[in-house]
């Protein structure tokens, strides 16, 4: 059992922290959020130049062969800095699925993605239903050698920026759940983009008789790979949440040590001290959960998926706890756009609601109690 970072991992952590320290001041970020700029081309190019975009991919695909531990390091820092760029949609989800393609497809999409030249999105959610990786209203109707896609999906992360969108669709001929790649702007594809509460963006995808060729089919039966990629996404979100929580705790400690009331620093009040201790405990327990879920998944343990559900459930529970307490302890200042606390809350709420909220992941745990994590 070893929980220490190796030399390369420590360097990665330092370089991510340094880069974000330089590019992601709270003021710059606030300005970008107001302007609706969730993707800064320069930053994305630097992601590519620093090699980070290639990090999670296998060496035979031209990647750097990073493990889930490297991903955890990166996303914890992303969460601290509240990075707006659509990494989750473009790299973790889209990149994760593009790995399924054949050599031609990888060359066409994965390579430019790793080089920062291609933006991508995956259409996963629909309003008014629980997240399901197998149910979809998108149908693929056979049409000659290819298919025609019909249906719609909501809240497709990064849809407005994406050059390509990956769409799971139920094939009417075989009943398989296949993955198709459609291009933004191709016939039959409409995207209605909008901001999200956390400053990132998403969009509604409408498919009306959209033609896709068999070369655009990434996978014939995608249920298992979708679940695997979703687990990686949940781990990345989990690491972002830890970054946000630990920043909230740190900033609250800092604020209460400096802010005086009735002649004493707020941090001197015992009732507030004990609440900050509870924030600390929640944050440390959450950190342990992230380690558990990441390492179990990385090493392929049989209870890995269960640990990921546990982690995702706690994003909502511990995340809100930390953010609510941080705002409360900041007093009225905590309610201003000027202080970071509210921005962390917004991101944590988004991380909670996306891809199944706390209740839904708790329900997954309850559904199968034969395993104990």
């Amino acid at each position: 059992m070893d929980f220490s970072l190796n030399e390369e991992q420590r360097m990665l952590q330092q370089s991510v922290a340094k880069f974000l320290g330089d590019t992601y001041s709270h003021e710059t970020r606030r300005k970008r959020v107001r302007e609706g700029s969730d993707l800064d081309g320069d930053i994305w190019r630097q992601f590519a130049e620093l090699g980070w975009l290639a990090l999670p991919f296998a060496e035979e695909d031209g990647g750097l062969g990073g493990t889930l531990v490297e991903s955890m390091i990166l996303h914890e820092e992303f969460g601290k800095a509240l990075v707006l760029e659509p990494w989750l949609a473009a790299v973790t989800l889209s990149g994760g699925l593009l790995r399924l393609g054949d050599a031609t497809q990888k060359k066409r999409w994965l390579e430019p993605l790793m080089e920062g030249r291609l933006q991508a999105a995956v259409a996963l959610e629909e309003y008014g239903t629980d997240l399901s990786l197998t149910d979809t209203s998108v149908k693929a109707r056979p049409d000659g050698s290819g298919y025609r896609l019909d249906g719609g999906r909501d809240l497709v992360l990064n849809a407005g920026n994406a050059d390509i969108l990956i769409v799971p669709a139920r094939c009417e001929d075989t009943g398989e759940l296949s993955l198709f790649v459609v291009e933004a702007g191709q016939p039959g594809v409409t995207v209605q983009a909008h901001r999200l509460v956390n400053g990132q963006s998403a969009g509604r995808l409408l498919l009306e008789d959209a033609p896709v060729s068999t070369e655009s089919r990434l996978a014939r039966e995608a249920t298992a790979p979708l679940a695997a990629v979703m687990n990686e996404a949940l781990l990345a979100m989990g690491a972002q949440a830890l970054g946000a929580m630990s920043a909230l705790l740190e900033q609250t400690l800092e604020y209460t040590k400096n802010r005086k009331q009735f002649g004493t620093p707020l941090s001197g009040f015992q009732a507030l001290q004990h609440r900050m201790v509870d924030m600390f405990i929640a944050c440390e327990q959450y950190r342990s959960l992230l380690l558990a879920a990441t390492l179990k998944t990385n090493e392929g343990h049989e209870d890995a998926a269960r640990a990921v559900h546990a982690l995702k459930a706690r994003i909502g529970q511990s995340g809100r706890h930390l953010a609510h307490e941080a705002i409360q302890l900041h007093g009225a200042m905590g309610m201003t756009d000027e202080m970071p606390a509210g921005h962390y809350l917004k991101h944590l709420v988004a991380l909670d609601l996306l891809f199944g909220n706390s209740d839904q992941h708790m329900a997954e745990l309850v559904a199968d109690e034969t395993i104990t994590i």
């Binding site: 008014g128 999200l196 509460v197 905590g334 329900a363």
Partner: protein
């Protein structure tokens, strides 16, 4: 001991409903639906106040001689509940709930005659100048100073968290009028014309990206001494009187009950598409838990009112309803977001400004839900933070 629900009460509810059907316009109703904090959109709220005022219903809790309705406690609760149910925007409280009562208790006959009718009618728009940077819940450390200068004061300093200062034409403020002595004893209560030279207002952007709070700067602002309410250096008594008065006035349960009913309706609609029975059970449990607390709070508030009506003093029990009411508001706001799911992540604050022309990309209630949730985090901070309220209960009720 009885609940006292009789025919008169039932008839009164019908009277209120019928008034609302006839007088609450779609535009005002829209503003009600789009109210995401304690404070409704100012234009429509003031218009609604004028309509209520014509009926004599703008300030049910005021003494009848100044324009109150003389209703029983039960009727006032019904009125409050029906307003929320009809999606009427809440009235802006600074004049009706705060400044008015202070004037009723401490104003000179001239001040009452000059200001009370304009508060009722909505001609004046008031804001409250209490907090200062570095003095939130700790009012004794105020620094804004009013220097005596003949018949006037010259005010210098700054106030913060002043709701709607950018819409107001008047402010009631606590300012320091003496530099020595105990901190609480050198404070006076002034009425300040917001058009006075030397006043600058800077809106503060909140989590919902809509400015509601402001910081107000005073640079040698001249205020006639005739605008002082109560004695010089005795502003603390005026402010405390308001707290006493508020005890009968602010009730959380009626609005919470309506919000809860809406949440239950939302949950039922959602469930038709929800595959997961377990997740559904968890969500409904949280709603049921709120329902129990709202019922209990309703009866706690009833107990307080029953105590008040029989001449008793519920004292610091109102600190308890403040804690409970605000925490429940936060829980229901959060559950509403949870119930709506990813839909509520769509962020378009400008699309829900009343009469906005921006095309909403998600249903109105989803856009409103997230802003309401974010803003709900403020209600345990403002109006004496819940930590302050716990301290009051510890001292005044439990004798700790």
């Amino acid at each position: 001991m009885d609940l006292g629900i009789d025919d008169e009460v039932i008839a009164f509810r019908e009277e209120v409903r019928s008034f609302l059907r006839e007088n609450l316009t779609p535009e005002i109703q829209e503003a009600g639906r789009r109210t995401t904090s304690v404070f409704a959109p100012p234009g429509q709220a003031m218009e609604w106040q004028r309509i209520l005022h014509r009926k004599g219903w703008a300030a049910p809790h005021w003494p009848e001689e100044y324009g109150g309705t003389g209703w029983s406690v039960t009727k006032r609760a019904i009125f409050a509940e029906e307003l929320v149910r009809a999606e009427a925007p809440p009235l802006i409280p600074m004049g009706l709930m705060m400044c008015g009562p202070c004037l009723i208790g401490y104003g000179t006959p001239e001040q009452k005659a000059q200001y009370l009718p304009r508060i009722l009618s909505g001609e004046d728009f008031w804001c409250q100048g209490y907090s200062e940077p570095g003095a939130g819940s700790d009012l004794a450390s105020l620094k804004t100073f009013a220097e005596s200068d003949g018949d006037d004061y010259i005010v210098n300093g700054t106030k913060i968290w002043t709701t709607y200062a950018h819409h107001a034409n008047r402010m009631f403020a606590l300012v320091r009028t003496r530099r020595d002595g105990k901190p609480q004893q050198g404070i006076s209560f002034l009425l300040i014309d917001m058009d006075s030279p030397g006043i600058t207002v800077e809106p503060i952007v909140g989590l919902d990206e809509v400015p509601e709070q402001c910081q107000v700067f005073f640079d040698n602002v001249r205020v006639p001494k005739a605008n002082r309410v109560g004695e010089e250096n005795d502003g603390w008594s005026v402010a405390k009187y308001l707290l006493m008065f508020e005890r009968g006035g602010s009730e959380y349960a009626p609005a919470l009950r309506v919000q809860l009913e809406r949440l239950k309706k939302l949950a039922a609609e959602r469930e038709r598409n929800a595959q997961d029975q377990q997740a559904r059970a968890f969500f409904r449990q949280k709603i049921a838990d709120c329902e129990i607390e709202v019922l209990a709070l309703e009866f706690t508030e009833n107990r307080i009112k029953s105590e008040l009506e029989s001449g008793g003093n519920p004292g610091a029990l109102t600190s308890m309803t403040k804690i409970l009411g605000t925490e429940l508001q936060q829980r229901i706001a959060q559950l509403t977001v949870e119930g709506l799911g990813i839909e509520s992540l769509v962020w378009q604050p400008q699309a829900i400004v009343p009469a906005s022309e921006e095309q909403p990309l998600a249903p109105e209630h989803s856009l409103v839900a997230m802003a309401s949730y974010l803003n709900s985090r403020a209600c345990s901070i403002y109006g004496g933070s819940n930590e302050i309220q716990r301290g009051i209960i510890a001292r005044a009720v439990l004798g700790l």
